[in-house]
């Protein structure tokens, strides 16, 4: 995760505040909840999506019997339907995976800053690893709608874990899939393909080791989406604070997307 142990010259240890918020709390109805792989699911939610104003944002879901909400990145949002893709990693996502069409969920929407597509140039590169792939979808869609030539690298451990390859192709992106074990696509990591690619800018989301590798491999500016354990998800508790070059930030509020030049890695 981002560093909080180095850093000098900080004038304030309180966040560089994001002033506006579009957060909304409302009840969504599950339209569909299907398995894409053995432990990755796609949930379609119908409801008031007006607070979702950018790709790269997340929602925070209240689940019966669990105290804290569960933050999940937004994969897509169109016509009042919110698409979430999540991996079963604990009690919360396990509970989500057991839910079916017609069931209701209390969701906070419009959380986080999202990706800035204005900096992409004409040929942006998108790199998603595992469940870091979903937020790349809505971003890809937006960039293509803006007339950009988008290349996407999707990284997985093995063939059985792959999802959404065809969906990205259908958007019109140039898609390369990598698998660590070589069971499908290019054998290796997303950065192995990144090294051979020409791109004007990059956007990435995935596990921390991947983000660090992308940071080191990249030859342009870019944006990273981070993950952290959160208390509230809307900036009240300071549970997910991190230090950046430009000051203290809350992953949930001033993030989860950070620009490359802001990032301070933990040594």
């Amino acid at each position: 995760m981002l560093s909080i142990c180095t850093g000098q010259g900080f004038e304030s240890f309180y966040p560089v505040r994001k002033e506006e918020t579009n957060m909304k709390q409302s009840i969504f109805t599950i339209k569909e909840n299907v398995a894409l792989t053995s432990n990755v699911y796609r949930m379609l939610l119908e409801g008031d999506t007006s607070a979702v104003t950018n790709c790269g944002q997340f929602v925070n879901i209240k689940l019966d019997g669990l105290f804290l909400r569960r933050p999940i990145s937004v994969c897509d949002c169109e016509d009042g339907i919110l698409t979430l893709i999540y991996k079963v990693v604990g009690k919360g996502t396990e509970l989500m995976s057991s839910m079916g069409a017609g069931e209701k969920l209390d969701v906070l929407t419009g959380l986080g800053n999202g990706y800035d597509t204005s900096l992409s140039g004409n040929s942006p590169l998108l790199l998603g690893g595992g469940v870091g792939v979903p937020p790349m979808y809505m971003l890809c869609k937006k960039l293509i709608a803006e007339g950009k030539q988008v290349s996407v690298i999707l990284g997985f451990n093995t063939k059985d874990e792959i999802f959404y390859e065809d969906e990205f192709r259908a958007l019109g992106a140039k898609v390369t899939v990598t698998t660590v074990d070589g069971s499908y696509g290019v054998k290796g990591f997303v950065t192995d393909v990144m090294k051979e690619s020409d791109y004007s800018y990059f956007y990435t989301c995935g596990p921390e080791p991947m983000l660090k590798a992308v940071y080191r491999t990249s030859v342009t500016e870019g944006q990273f989406s981070f993950e952290e354990r959160m208390g509230c998800g809307f900036g009240a508790c300071m549970g997910c604070s991190c230090k950046t070059i430009t000051g203290y930030k809350r992953i949930c509020k001033e993030g989860p997307v950070m620009k490359k030049e802001e990032i301070l890695w933990e040594s």
Binding site: S12, F13, Y14, T21, Q25, F67, G235, A236, C240
Partner: protein
């Protein structure tokens, strides 16, 4: 005087509901969602003499019916709270706010309280004595009657506003500590701060929180809070603010019946940003249901 109003150390509150420190920032995140002037008041983010960036992450863990946090008093320091946060707060909150102060030496408490006491926006100063005393071998001030009294006396000597001492529940005899604060001149007592807790991820065999231990809060701790509020409020004659796991209008009534004059709501704000608004709006219904005319002197039978 409204039906929901109560008195806290001589200042009237429109209702007894107070978002607790550390769960409400300096108010803005919530002011964007609803008019926070409907609150009784709120206790702002724990403020120290110097800026603090707090503990490493992860700082949060979940528990059955609650959570553990080890944020570590992240705050910009008292100077910036006064020069930046309070002026911004003035734009969305017309009422007196409760200043929450922490310190790691008696001198720090004195410094911070003296500064905040001069701010017209501040109505009360809530002094968190759960912090370790760097000059006292790291033992928290609030764990001994002597330590608690020492901070109380020192802070009282430099302030004019009501001083409310916020007690830690992680002690052998909370009543003795409350009495020591009263004898040292405290105007009120608030309790309980979080219980010390810990979770371990059995997959990674590591503590969930980077700091290993943290403050346990949420509805799971409500019965402990009610018990301690009851014990303390029946042992001192100064007002007691009850908190710990309050998440509904019924919980507020129960806390008042335990002997509190007002109630703080903490972790519930993090799960539902509208928690305090909903509780305040639900209070009249619950009062009617239980034929309660006033929230003042709502003692158990």
């Amino acid at each position: 005087m409204g039906k929901l109003s109560v008195d806290l150390c001589g200042l009237e509150l429109d209702n007894p509901v107070i978002p607790a420190s550390g769960t409400f920032g300096f108010g803005y995140e919530f002011a964007e969602l609803y008019d926070i002037n409907m609150l009784g008041t709120f206790s702002f983010k724990g403020t120290t003499k110097e800026a603090r960036f707090g503990n490493p992450t992860p700082r949060i863990a979940e528990t059955p019916n609650g959570m553990i946090n080890a944020v570590g008093l992240q705050n910009p320091g008292v100077e910036r709270v006064i020069s930046e946060e309070l002026p911004k707060l003035a734009k969305c909150f017309d009422k007196k706010v409760m200043a929450n102060v922490s310190g790691f030496s008696v001198e720090e408490y004195v410094y911070t309280c003296e500064k905040l006491d001069k701010c017209p926006q501040v109505g009360w100063i809530e002094v968190n004595i759960s912090c370790p005393n760097v000059h006292g071998g790291g033992m928290a001030f609030g764990t001994t009657p002597e330590g608690a009294a020492e901070v109380t006396r020192a802070v009282k000597a430099v302030t004019t506003k009501p001083i409310i001492i916020k007690l830690s529940p992680n002690v052998t005899d909370i009543v003795a500590i409350a009495k020591a604060c009263e004898a040292a001149g405290a105007d009120g007592i608030s309790l309980i701060n979080t219980l010390l807790g810990m979770r371990i991820d059995i997959r990674t065999r590591k503590p969930v929180i980077a700091n290993k231990m943290g403050g346990f809060s949420g509805s799971a701790i409500f019965p402990v809070a009610v018990r301690m509020v009851y014990q303390v409020s029946h042992a001192v004659s100064i007002p007691v603010v009850g908190m710990g796991g309050v998440s509904s209008a019924e919980d507020v009534i129960e806390m008042l019946m335990a002997g509190a004059v007002a109630v703080e709501v903490g972790a519930a704000n993090l799960v539902d940003p509208y928690a305090c608004k909903n509780i305040i709006e639900d209070l009249p219904r619950v009062m009617e249901k239980y034929r309660i005319e006033s929230l003042r002197d709502l003692k158990i039978q």
